[in-house]
């Protein structure tokens, strides 16, 4: 007995201990036809307003979410008597040119779909977001953590939401100036692009509240993390943060939306529940309408981070030049997928097999954004 006891002990000591695990889950197919209207957008003061109309889809549907086309979308105000239609500029995207909102008035959204179903929001107050005080970041083992700090001296805002757009520059290490065409090395015109930019929008609901604080201060609210060694910081990174002021109801609505879709999977999950927004169907009071309409001035701020500020970053692009003598051109450039980069005076051509090394447009767009510094 003692012998197998020892064996058992050994095997147990080597076994792992804290074992909770997560597997993909395929839910049972829910047949219910769901095709509810989703309304997203903020009536912006002094800036163009974009309202997006889409439809919900079934969970199993793989197609992109379908836009709601050809609807009549209008902004109405309570006491000024305005009734402004929005123009559909793309499928399901309705735009209103810049409009100065009257902070003492209230506005609402009025939608009539092409199927003649009408939706109306509550009148909402114009919420003016205070300016962003600062965007800052810290470097940790996880990467670059970005924060927003703001305050409202009037102690009036209390509920905030942020969206951001990340843009980053990516540079190829080499530029290909020659090409291999019909057994000949010729000049490449134009040469391959080496400066490209990529961008990305926030995907999670970023909410903050100072309701429990004495002053209306948001201090270092985490926005996002640029993971360590990410290509976003291979050269230069920029983030534009938009700050929205919310009403308490809007904040609660978004917070529940965030819980339902972003905060599940812990041991003690909240009970999922849908909160009604402030947009209602006029034809069927029980029809769920997704979205919360709000109006106000949006504040924006942009910062840049250079790669040299975060060293050591750990991003590495391996580009080893292959030296090709003329007798091997056909083998390398014709058959092996190596691209010629430049030719030296002796006629030897140096090539690269990783396109990222000489053509940044394989990963990003070679067009410099207007704002780029």
């Amino acid at each position: 007995m003692k012998y197998w006891l020892k064996i058992l002990l050994l095997s147990i000591c080597t076994a792992c201990l804290w074992i909770s695990c997560v597997d993909p889950y395929e839910p049972p197919v829910i047949a219910e036809a769901n095709n509810f209207l989703v309304i997203e957008g903020v009536l912006r003061s002094g800036e163009p307003t974009t309202i997006k109309l889409t439809r919900t889809a079934r969970l199993a549907d793989t197609a992109r979410i379908t836009p709601e086309r050809s609807a009549d979308v209008r902004i109405e105000c309570e006491s000024c008597g305005l009734d402004l239609p929005l123009q559909e500029t793309a499928d399901g995207v309705y735009v209103l040119p810049p409009l100065d909102l009257n902070p003492n008035d209230r506005y609402r959204l009025h939608i009539k779909t092409s199927q003649n179903r009408e939706y109306l929001s509550d009148y909402v107050e114009v919420k003016q977001a205070p300016p962003i005080d600062s965007l800052n970041w810290t470097l940790s083992s996880e990467g670059v953590q970005l924060y927003v700090t703001t305050h409202d001296p009037q102690n009036n805002t209390r509920y905030y939401r942020w969206e951001f757009e990340e843009t980053w520059e990516f540079r190829s290490l080499y530029q290909s100036t020659v090409d291999y065409v019909d057994g000949q090395i010729i000049d490449r015109v134009p040469p391959t692009p080496i400066r490209c930019w990529q961008n990305n929008n926030s995907t999670s609901l970023l909410l903050g509240s100072s309701a429990k604080l004495g002053n209306d201060i948001i201090y270092q609210q985490p926005l996002t993390v640029v993971p360590h060694a990410s290509w976003k910081l291979s050269t230069k990174y920029s983030i534009l943060v938009k700050q929205f002021a919310l009403s308490k109801e809007a904040f609660e609505y978004y917070q529940q939306m965030k819980k339902n879709s972003e905060q599940m999977g812990s041991f003690f999950d909240p009970q999922p529940v849908e909160l009604g927004g402030n947009i209602y169907s006029l034809d069927n009071a029980n029809e769920p309408v997704i979205g919360f309409f709000s109006a106000g001035q949006v504040q924006e701020k942009r910062i840049y981070i250079r790669a040299d500020e975060v060293q050591p970053w750990g991003y590495r692009l391996w580009c080893d030049l292959i030296e090709v003598t003329p007798d091997s051109f056909n083998y390398y450039f014709g058959q092996s997928g190596v691209e010629p980069i430049y030719q030296d005076l002796s006629g030897v051509v140096f090539g690269l097999d990783n396109p990222e090394c000489y053509d940044c447009s394989t990963k990003a767009r070679p067009v410099q954004p207007d704002f780029w510094e």
Binding site: I19, P24, E32, N215, P270
Partner: protein
């Protein structure tokens, strides 16, 4: 002794008394026979022919017997003795009338006890009374079966004994621990007279004076036979040795047939030895895990605080540790129970007939009985496991009078998490510890004092920088007093505190500390009065004073901008008077009639918001805020609670029971998570929140086979719950100044049938149970506004219709046993999304009906091997090992299925808490 009786009887001249001792002249015959698997009937026929005696017996008691054996020239009594061994049957031979009576349980006494006619005889012939010399040394030498040669002399020693009866009183204790032995029997066989010990191990036995063999028996103890000479009234304290080689075990109850014969239904009693044998996570013996295997007890999942009994919510269980309320019985997300098994004696769960003594919760009472220290010598125990370790020390403070036991338990999982090569876990912390101190003092043999103190603390910090912590504090002082043979009383005072806190300091501006606590002072007097043979009364009163601090939100550090916010304290007094009569109408028919009247006073100082009548309780419908001063009665609720049950015994092994119970609950837990978390708040009933009311009808059939070795039962129940509290969608329950506006009254109904087969003794023991049950809830508050699932019935989070459990233990030898635990249950309900949509840069999910779907079914098998060291009584340490595997099949049982947006797209996941087989080992040492 026989001489003495003979002499006595002859002297009295009552020759018509057919005492077996007197009937030596009519010797029963000797038998030579060979039986091979005879039925009892055939056996009796054979014996009747051979002996000329006539048998009287109840065929229902004997139909399952099978008799084998060879006998040559054996006395009839010896044959019967051997044939009936282990059957639970008793025989009585009346040589005078040549009759043999076979009975179950109690032996028929074929004679009147000696001294029965003493009064008359004294009157008739006082002058004939004669003293005689006691010669107890006579024949002593040739009684080789006498284990101990010692002869105990009781009373004032005289050279001669005056015939008549005398009383022996005394106490029976364990020789090892000094613990009083309850329910032990003390008897002499000639004449057959016996007594059982009371709650303090005391007995009183009145028997004829003279020389006797006193037999002392108790479950789990080595039986003793003492030679006594009784001169006059006197005292005899007896010490019994524990049956050391007791690996026996899944013993749900010490008393056979008690499940059939007790009037109560829906009650389960498990002793600590049984608990130790059920395999558990990490090999740590766990009371709550074992309770979860009982029919009718369920949980939302592995990581969930508490348990659900017969469709009740977690807060509807009254968990009592030596009569002090425990608010959170779990450690480490519910993986471990908060009780250290080394300091427990056992648990009792009442899920159907709840004794009138208890109240205040709708579903069940879980009574956890502590163990007290050894009164003889210092002893220690330690257990080492992979995740937890525990140590206990116990011993006398005053020998045989006062003892202590101190135990502690802790985990080193914090250290373990750090070892894992994963940043997320390395930044996590989870730890707990608990400490128990139990004291007992014997004031005198009719009065004892008990003290239990308990403290437990948990802390965890997972992924985020937020630190969670909670603790339980309990203290109880109990005075047990026997006023007379008929009246027994318990006076208990206890204090309980539960508190939790959440704090975060990473952001200096938002640094906060959130705290909640609940304090409870409890006083009760409980009396037990045996009116006569057929009436036993339990009555008493209890009072609980609650003080809740429903929340404080305070800044930490100088830079914090957090505005201190403290919710007003809540106070209340809950009192109850109760009377319960256990009435045996006939031998077959018994009823328990209980009435409890409970009274709840919500007390000031407090401000209470009033709302417009008939409108939803919301901010817009607030009318006024009323301020009450200290001690003001703000609101009173009261009402009767009925606790009725009845039993009809068709045969000693078959009975039918029925019960009706009503209960009221004045304290509620509010939880907005699917699994109950340790940071859920409690709320007292107030002018806006009515108490919960519950009623339960139950019916059960109980049948035992093989003399109670196998117990079977079927119990069905139907339950109604009113004013159970649910909350509005998205409600913020913590730090809410108008929480009544966030809760909605819900009604619930639960019904089910529980089937159980138990085998209590033998090499193979354990139980098998199957439960079908449903629990449905419905929001029925007309003023609620938006209702969950449009006000239709929906299944509760813990509604698992099918539930199958097998607990088995096979004892290969006294030192080696194997335990197996198999559980299957339906998956719990979950709310699945019905659609997805695009919003704020990501796909998101839309939920609709609550709990319309279920997660996959749950199945788990655990195996444990218990190895005891050698059983030499005298050695420095005793060792034992428990080795096993939790979740042997490695099945990834789904704890929750959820959908989460990742990089803009929705993905579905299932979370399994124990995703593989988990081996464990535990080493226990006792010194």
């Amino acid at each position: 002794m026989k001489h003495f009786i003979q002499f006595f009887l002859l002297f009295l001249g009552f020759s018509f008394l057919s005492l077996p001792a007197a009937a030596q002249s009519v010797q029963p015959p000797v038998i030579s026979a060979s039986f091979n698997s005879l039925s009892f009937e055939q056996f009796v026929q054979e014996l009747e022919t051979k002996s000329g005696y006539r048998f009287y017996y109840n065929p229902q008691h004997t139909d399952s017997l099978s008799i084998s054996g060879n006998y040559t020239n054996k006395p009839l009594a010896a044959v019967l003795e051997q044939a009936l061994q282990g059957s639970g049957l008793e025989y009585a031979v009346d040589a005078e009338t040549k009759n043999i009576y076979i009975t179950k349980g109690q032996k028929i006494i074929t004679s009147l006890p000696a001294g029965f006619f003493r009064k008359e005889e004294e009157k008739v012939s006082p002058q004939q009374e004669k003293e005689f010399v006691v010669d107890y040394y006579n024949g002593n030498g040739n009684r080789s079966w006498v284990k101990k040669d010692k002869i105990y002399e009781i009373g004032k020693k005289t050279q001669t004994i005056v015939p008549g009866n005398a009383t022996i009183t005394g106490q029976i204790r364990s020789a090892q621990t000094g613990e009083q032995v309850i329910g032990a029997t003390v008897l002499i066989e000639d004449p057959f007279t016996g007594a059982a010990t009371d709650a303090f191990g005391n007995f009183t036995l009145r028997i004829p004076k003279g020389r006797h063999t006193l037999k002392v028996r108790s479950v789990g103890m080595v039986s003793e036979e003492l030679q006594i000479v009784l001169y006059s009234d006197g005292k005899l304290d007896i010490e019994l040795f524990e049956n050391v080689a007791q690996l026996k075990a899944v013993e749900i109850s010490a008393d056979r047939d008690v499940n059939v014969s007790q009037a109560q239904m829906g009650m389960e009693k498990i002793n600590i030895r049984a608990i130790r044998q059920v395999p558990s996570v990490m090999g740590e013996p766990d009371v709550l895990r074992v309770v979860l295997t009982l029919p009718g007890v369920k949980t939302t999942g592995e990581a969930s605080t508490g348990f659900n009994v017969r469709g009740g919510s977690v807060d509807q269980n009254l968990i009592l540790f030596n009569d002090a309320t425990v608010y959170n019985p779990s450690h480490l997300f519910g993986f471990f129970s908060a009780f250290n098994s080394d300091l427990l004696d056992g648990v009792e769960l009442f899920k159907s007939s709840i004794p009138a003594q208890y109240g205040g919760r709708l579903s069940s009472v879980l009574k956890i009985t502590p163990r007290y220290g050894n009164k003889k010598k210092i002893e220690g125990k330690a257990g080492i496991g992979l995740l937890t370790s525990r140590a206990t020390i116990e011993g006398p403070i005053i020998k045989d009078k006062t003892s202590f036991i101190l135990g502690g338990r802790t985990t080193y999982s914090n250290w373990l998490l750090k070892l894992l090569d994963n940043e997320e876990y390395q930044n996590s912390k989870a730890s707990f510890y608990d400490v128990n101190l139990n004291l007992t003092h014997e004031i005198n043999e009719r009065s004892n004092l008990y003290f239990t103190g308990y403290f437990s603390k948990d802390q965890f910090k997972l992924r985020t920088d937020t630190l969670y912590g909670y603790d339980n504090k309990n203290a109880t002082l109990k005075w047990k007093k026997i006023f007379s043979d008929k009246l027994l009383a318990d006076f208990t005072g206890s204090y309980s505190q539960y508190s939790f806190g959440v704090s975060s300091e990473s952001n200096p501006v938002n640094a906060y500390k959130l705290a909640f606590n609940i304090n409870q002072l409890n006083a009760q007097a409980a009396f037990n009065y045996s009116l006569n043979q057929s009436h036993t009364l339990n009555f008493g009163l209890t009072s609980v004073y609650y003080k809740l601090r429903p929340g404080s939100f305070l800044p930490i550090g100088e830079g914090s901008e957090v505005v201190p916010d403290v919710l007003e304290s809540e106070r209340a007094l809950e009192s109850a008077l109760y009377l319960e009569d256990q009435y045996d109408i006939s031998k077959r028919f018994a009823v328990t009639l209980g009435l409890r009247y409970s009274l709840f006073n919500y007390l000031g100082p407090k401000s209470v918001i009033t709302y417009a009548d008939g409108l939803p309780r919301s901010e817009t419908n607030m009318l006024d805020t009323l301020s009450y001063g200290s001690g003001d009665l703000i609101k009173t609720y009261h009402g009767p609670e009925y606790r009725l049950s009845a039993r009809y015994m068709f045969t000693p092994s078959f009975s039918v029971k029925g019960g009706y119970n009503t209960l009221r609950q004045y304290i509620h837990m509010l939880s907005n998570t699917t699994a109950v978390s340790p940071t859920d708040i409690w709320k007292l009933s107030d002018p806006n929140i009515r108490p919960q009311f519950g009623e339960q009808f139950s019916l059960g059939f109980y049948k035992n086979f093989r003399n109670g070795v196998i117990e079977t039962s079927v119990e069905g129940y139907y339950k109604n719950m009113q004013d159970y509290l649910d909350y509005k969608g998205g409600a913020e329950l913590v730090m809410n100044h108008a929480i009544e506006a966030e809760v909605i009254n819900t009604e619930g109904k639960a019904y089910g049938a529980e089937f159980m087969i138990k085998k209590l003794s033998g090499k193979l023991n354990g139980w098998l149970s199957y439960t079908y049950s449903r629990t449905l809830l419905r929001m029925d508050d007309p003023n609620a506004g938006e209702l969950i699932n449009n006000g239709d019935w929906y299944p509760a989070n813990y509604d698992k219709p099918h539930d199958f459990t097998l607990i088995g233990n096979y004892k290969f030898s006294h030192r080696f046993s194997v335990s197996l635990n198999c559980t299957y249950s339906s998956g719990r309900p979950i709310t699945l999304p019905i659609a997805k949509y695009w919003y704020a840069g990501s796909e998101r999910v839309l939920y609709a009906e609550r709990n319309a779907n279920r997660i996959p079914d749950y199945f788990r098998t655990d195996l444990a091997i218990n190895i005891e060291g050698n059983h030499y009584l005298k050695q420095l340490t005793h060792n034992s090992w428990t080795i096993g595997v939790y979740n042997l099949t490695g099945r990834r049982n789904v704890y929750s299925a959820y959908f989460i947006a990742e990089a803009g797209a929705i993905k579905g996941y299932r979370l399994s808490i124990f995703g593989s087989a988990i081996p464990f080992i535990n080493y226990n040492i006792r010194f």
